[in-house]
Symmetry: C2
């Protein structure tokens, strides 16, 4: 739009004619003067017209959330909400809003419940505090990618349509693919490992992953964005954990440097850059700590959400740290391709990373030795025929490697203190929700 000035940049135009465009947040109809608050993606500003102005008939018809363009003179006014206001010259309606909004947008009346807000997500997202969540996403991903590209990773786009399940076959979505069946990838696991067999050495992928998980929790959706990495020539899972630390630090530095001020103001959160290395405990040690804290253990081989939460508190108290690695998960709790510990064959060279008491990452060194891998698959009861293409990756020279899958929506949820993962997702998908 020719000559449009973003509202956040008006302050350098005092005394000049400006053109702004945005949504009418509020209309205040006083006898001698009409006040509008106009909102664009960058901020809000007051616009005024005396009651004898040519635009007043148009103003009389305005409804909140109508989109307008205003040309006028910008002046400073200490009484105006942001110290400046636009004296309306011309006012043009670009898109009229129906007078009744299905959910309140920017008022002091409070909010609709989440389910209704998600039904009208595009109105819900007009609130600046919601848009900030996606500014954080943008910066998080920028920083993640800048780190990876800077140290030589390939940016991978692997297919989401597969002929066979990548893992156990549970929680799998089935697709009609011409005259046969396909499945939606539950992770890029096999394909990023294939890149290691192809000699790419370091890859990352950002993309959707699909889990036909019928559970209703604050941290699950059926489709979500995953950040995945895989790196070759690792000595053990500890190399992967060190890479995860560097990535987390890069993302937090990026977000803090770009957005600390609005995050403090909106969410009351101070972003701290964690010290490295992050504290690490084995799952066995974690279970002992939880026992001392008298937390009942629901699952022997894994951590329940309440256990993770208490371990988060423990890491805060014990190490003054928001992050905690839990390592050495038993074979029963991990997929067949996780490498086993050299010192205890019942354990895997695996880890989870907790952030403020919520698991955000799962990783491991992978088993790259063909014979061992076949044996481990058979022990887990997998039919070798269905993973034949995968097993072939390891027949013609495949370096030792490891990787991780990181959940950016959980990370944003924890970072900003959001109540659940749906708030950190543009359009969440759950068992009951495929719209809008």
């Amino acid at each position: 739009m020719t000559n449009r000035t973003m509202i956040s940049e008006l302050k350098s135009h005092i005394g000049q004619r400006v053109s702004i465009a945005g949504w009418v947040r509020t209309i205040r109809n006083q006898k001698r003067i009409k006040f509008l608050i106009i909102r664009d993606v960058s901020g809000e500003v007051q616009a005024i017209a005396p009651s004898n102005h040519a635009s007043v008939p148009t103003i009389a018809e305005l409804t909140p959330e109508t989109v307008v363009r205003i040309n006028g003179k910008l002046k400073s006014d200490p009484q105006a909400p942001s110290g400046i206001e636009v004296e309306i010259g011309e006012l043009e309606i670009l898109s009229r809003s129906e007078p009744e909004l299905p959910i309140p947008i920017v008022t002091k009346k409070g909010e609709a419940d989440q389910s209704k807000r998600l039904d009208w997500r595009w109105l819900d997202l007009r609130r600046p505090e919601r848009q900030l969540i996606f500014r954080v996403w943008t910066e998080m991903e920028r920083a993640f990618r800048a780190y990876c590209v800077g140290v030589g990773y390939f940016d991978l786009h692997s297919p989401k349509l597969m002929s066979a399940p990548s893992e156990s076959g549970a929680e799998l979505f089935e697709v009609r693919y011409f005259n046969r069946k396909a499945y939606l990838a539950q992770s890029p696991q096999f394909y990023k490992q294939m890149a290691m067999a192809a000699g790419f050495e370091k890859v990352f992928e950002v993309g959707p992953v699909f889990r036909a998980d019928p559970s209703f929790t604050s941290r699950h959706t059926t489709e979500f964005t995953g950040y995945d990495i895989e790196i070759s020539f690792v000595e053990s899972h500890f190399d992967v954990m060190a890479e995860q630390e560097r990535i987390v630090v890069a993302m937090l530095k990026g977000i803090r440097s770009a957005l600390q001020e609005p995050i403090s103001r909106t969410f009351g959160q101070e972003i701290t850059i964690p010290s490295v290395p992050f504290p690490k405990i084995t799952l066995r040690e974690a279970k002992e700590i939880l026992k001392r804290l008298e937390i009942p253990s629901e699952r022997e081989n894994d951590l329940a959400p309440e256990e993770e939460r208490r371990l988060g508190e423990y890491a805060e108290e014990q190490y003054g740290h928001e992050f905690l690695f839990v390592t050495d998960y038993p074979v029963e709790a991990r997929p067949f391709y996780h490498m086993r510990s050299e010192t205890d064959q019942r354990l895997t060279k695996s880890f989870d990373l907790l952030f403020k008491g919520v698991e955000i990452t799962t990783g491991a060194q992978r088993e790259h030795r063909f014979n061992v891998l076949v044996q481990q698959a058979q022990e887990k009861g997998l039919r070798l025929e269905t993973i034949k293409f995968y097993l072939n990756f390891f027949k013609f020279g495949c370096p030792p490697h490891g990787g991780l899958g990181f959940g950016p929506s959980r990370f944003v949820m924890q970072l900003l203190g959001l109540p659940n993962i749906r708030e950190a997702t543009y359009l969440p998908r759950t068992v009951n929700r495929l719209d809008p």
Copy 2:
């Protein structure tokens, strides 16, 4: 891997002990000396051992493509292929390759046919010229994102699972979604427009799009990566085209600056930065040009591949330009949500962008006026019920906006002169191919 030096960085370590790791490309067994060529992701180097060396029994067992680690002393040798070689101290086998490779990898024997190469894609991708294609991808995406983030775009991740088709319902993959049906998104079209209704103003998305298109051509796959943008407060589709020009220039500058040398060497392509604005013709003018060139017109309202190719030649001859915008497609050839021309209601405010005679982008200004949109949908025979959630985006104030979908795999194919799109895709999906 502790102390590993990448092969490309060896030159600064002459006279020192180094540790390298990679794939055995070739083994040459001479009487007095054993020669290996070792390849990692960064390059190749020769390693040697005299025939009485402790590693010789291991070397005798080596097969090509086995993964090894070598410690040894680096010395300069004008006779060695890269002027340096590693005198083997210790040689360790990390992963042995079977002696018979299903396709030749790096030899002078030539290549298997494409279908067989794709069956063994992870071996095919070991060729440095293949890896370069994905270095180009990485840099292309870095530059695309850097441009967008730099001018204030949100990075969007919209869902790929939808309750209803986004467009006509043709070429749609159906998913079993618990006890109902879902569909795979054919584009993020509706969701990026939703972001405009939400006031995000500028969004981009990089993600998979799915087309159940049964055609077998050099430029179609059933799943591919799309780069999408959508921007608000445009005056017309020409604003979107100007943004496309800036994006293309940013990507080409990035790729040229990072990779011109290996691209010239490998693909013989010189990357030129195009002048702006790009040449523009209407579809009607395009058809007149083709008529003068005596190219038979297969389709009245659209361009066939051969027509695009000839227009690419025309742009090169007429304007000395690799890019050509074709605008003003008739209503019949475009979806219901494209805005119509103010001066001729039979035409839309739409465009395609051709790059060296292949369509890489489709874009338009969108119809944001609720009543007009409903009317256009009805004219196209759409059931309003199935697009109700979409139509609701336009009821509560939606700014004028437009956007485009860009095909990065086609762009890479054209840029590097690849014979078809499967070469520019990590793991292509076609009617007959879901593996590996």
